[in-house]
Subunit: 589 residues, 2 copies
Amino acid sequence: MFGRTYFCGEVTEAAIGEKVVLKGWVQRRRDLGGLIFIDLRDRTGIIQIVFSPEANKEALAIAEKVRNEYVLDIQGKVVARQEGTVNDNLKTGKVEIIVDEITILNESKTPPFTIEDKTEVAEDVRLKYRYLDLRRPVMFETFKMRHQVTKVMRDFLDAEGFLDIETPILTKSTPEGARDYLVPSRVHEGEFYALPQSPQIFKQLLMVSGVERYYQIARCFRDEDLRADRQPEFTQLDIETSFMSQEDIMGMMEQMMEKIMKEVKGIEISLPIARMPYDEAMSRYGSDKPDTRFDMELVNLSEIVKDSGFKVFAQAVETGGQVKAINVKQGSDKYSRKDIDALTEFVKVYGAKGLAWLKAEEDGLKGPIAKFISEEEQKGLESALAIESGDLLLFVADKTNVVADALGALRLKLAKELGLIDETKFNFLWVTDWPLFEFDEGEGRFYAAHHPFTMPQRADLELLDTNPKQVKAQAYDIVLNGYELGGGSLRIFEKDVQEKMFEKLGFTKEEAYEQFGFLLDAFEYGTPPHGGIALGLDRLIMLLSGRTNLRDTIAFPKTASASCLLTNAPSEVSETQLNDLHLALNVSK
Amino acid sequence: MFGRTYFCGEVTEAAIGEKVVLKGWVQRRRDLGGLIFIDLRDRTGIIQIVFSPEANKEALAIAEKVRNEYVLDIQGKVVARQEGTVNDNLKTGKVEIIVDEITILNESKTPPFTIEDKTEVAEDVRLKYRYLDLRRPVMFETFKMRHQVTKVMRDFLDAEGFLDIETPILTKSTPEGARDYLVPSRVHEGEFYALPQSPQIFKQLLMVSGVERYYQIARCFRDEDLRADRQPEFTQLDIETSFMSQEDIMGMMEQMMEKIMKEVKGIEISLPIARMPYDEAMSRYGSDKPDTRFDMELVNLSEIVKDSGFKVFAQAVETGGQVKAINVKQGSDKYSRKDIDALTEFVKVYGAKGLAWLKAEEDGLKGPIAKFISEEEQKGLESALAIESGDLLLFVADKTNVVADALGALRLKLAKELGLIDETKFNFLWVTDWPLFEFDEGEGRFYAAHHPFTMPQRADLELLDTNPKQVKAQAYDIVLNGYELGGGSLRIFEKDVQEKMFEKLGFTKEEAYEQFGFLLDAFEYGTPPHGGIALGLDRLIMLLSGRTNLRDTIAFPKTASASCLLTNAPSEVSETQLNDLHLALNVSK
């Protein structure tokens, strides 16, 4: 215990009568009838300590000087609290310490906000005083959980024969993918390192090296414009294996997740985790990371309404699009015409031209488009959407991807508004059979849907030349409660397939070798079949700890403009530093 | 086992009769009397597999196409090797596999060097083909050991209540210390992040946060000109604790080292680890990280020779310097006059003006300076140096620090040459009571000997103003076999002491606040007493694995010019990338 006999939060009735030494921070001080009561806090919790003239007058005098967040070292005796003063909300609430010695180890100014879980303060103040923010028990518990989760991961992977191997942070810039953070070289004038967007190539090279099972809890970097759930540096559990099948890898990850859920959350999840092909996820949920904690699935009505008198429906189908709807069960009364107008604006953000709606009443479907719906169509809808009186039906008729995006987003929005989501559930899901490519209409070129090293499904290899859009990948994402936790794939391990892949992505052979020559070279020396996965650790912790943003899972995070409000990074540097790096500023001011 | 039934190196007699599936690389192929023998290798070892026309003609035909480093998937039956063909050097040497199915998973060109522990190839070739270099068993074993060591560390620290907390890689440049690697910001024009030289300030802020016990296996960065044992990025076990004394921290680290030595090396070390004040280490070994696996200590002869007829000795003492010697036991015959001339050149590198010597013969001390040595001095030397006939005595007379540096280095050189070092020994040592400051004669200013956050010894606080050179720090280095494994200290946790420290280091108050204001601010909000340590992981692994350079402990290391020969990092980047970062090159060509 190193100088203390207990942590504050762990003194219970079992210790009554003991002489104890405690160290911690003053949560609050109360003066009452000549006595001073202090709630003393350390990372384990709070205990009440009491100063009285009978116990020690000098200690009482010192206690008078004490303010919130002072650091104390105290000695005293554990006694039972008097009846009526017991606090059942605290583990230590049945006892208190009668103090006979106190040392003030350090003082504190009044903090800019109170050190409590529920603190009413703007996030930028919390970030500037991060060292105080992290004193709040809810923050400490989040980082404790983060530690526990990585411990379970490491223990599991160690037992499975994985080696934790570090890969470089100073590495080579590869323009494919997101924007790199660059690091100018001092020794090599005009040259730069890049911070890794992921250890992807290094972990594949480790498979070429015969390591067979690699993992790393790896820092990754992307210089992108930040959204609420992005950080310039983030952490992933990075895994690569040789000679394992997609099923082998998914099965192993399931066992790891089962162990994490059990040991950290005390929750048993049932294996195997459900699997859903990408096409099905898009079709049923309008999302490649469906939240399956609630239903309200997208229903394809194209067949039913393809000849509809409502021309918007008929035309959508005729031009190769779709008509789909969700049934908001008993939502009819909850959404006024004005509310639905707002929902229409919402789906327009996703490219939809509009939102059609019907309300189911005892005597049939009502709403502006009801008059266009034939009796036969109505029967079709009633059956397809399992309509009951009181339901609200929301339709989007558009191109397939617009329908999916718009209704997928609407589904989530409505579920949150209506409280349809059971927040105690942890619904894991594998999304499989991803397309290998995404086609960028604007640029008229293909991009790798995962990354350029993903193995096409063997049966689709011949489609690479004839119909790339149809090629599926040996790729799998793991989804939790509608968030992508991570993604993996089997990798290309044959040089000719990898060259073909670069070609399809628009690389000339020279460009491919310029950037990835060392990998293509490596593929000539006995590269084993391999594959892996990467799990976003920050997001996993966010979901497991019930936090609502990634910043709360990172000890010293950055803001949306990639600043650290605590240290004021980034900052200006000296002329000497720039000269050493052979750089000049080229700023617009 | 995921598709295999055994790893190659683990098939023993217990498996005789079993049908097995193995995967691995071809170590070598031999054709012998119509049969083909292949040594199949995976990360666990090698097994002999045999192809015969009786077993399977098709498999035999495929085996004929196989070359070194091809990747195979084979099925076969385990049989006992015939008498006379048993290989006792292999764990699998009593058995072989009669193959009845083979799949070539991938082919290989002839590698540029053989995949064996003892490979005769220049290091730059190994680094260019690092993925092949890492296939050599000795390299795999090094990374396996690295994994094991970090596992033991993590398990130990977890059990002691430490939390693994990640600190930022993109942080703020602080000119004090080594040169920072900088990362230009795209969002904040003209501003830069810096890669951390260590997480020092963040771990102290975590103590302000009440975390109490933090650790991280942390990547650190220094843009320095590289020596043989430096890398631009390196890894340290970084630890910080609150409320613990120097003894508490040292004791805990000893227990961790004991566990590592036992679990990884099977060696019991006896605790406590020896402690030696800095002054004593410098005096007895001429080093702040003495190799205590052998004696040959430096002996101070200043008192004995202060009035010597050999004026070099007398003058050195008179001008405030020292005369010290080492006794090379029975070294008299081993070093000729010419050899000693070479040693003289060696010590000159350390600033010594010369090297005096004497050889002890049956009838007294011989050598060029013998005639200046009085009988009384001779007796003094004989007693102080425990001289026996055959010994070689080597003297340096100079300023104290020059004597230490020159004789300290000479001691190490001679011990290596004479084979005095027991390479099986692991001698740990704590060096304590470091000076707080180093004085730079050239710049006429003080530098922090450890770093500016090191706590002075309480008794020396008043010397800060009057005699800074005399101030000792509450600092401790752990040394293994003459290498600094790591260093730690208690930290300043009071704002006024920290301000005073910055003042002594030549910071104006403005400069101190400009750079470290957030830490000084934090010290105002209830900062607990704290301290920690950092251990160099790369070096520890180098010493435990018996490797001779740090590069062999890092999967993808950089050369002395900070290049990666595998990926060719650093490299040029595009004009677009530079423009995005508001930079222009300022190169000398």
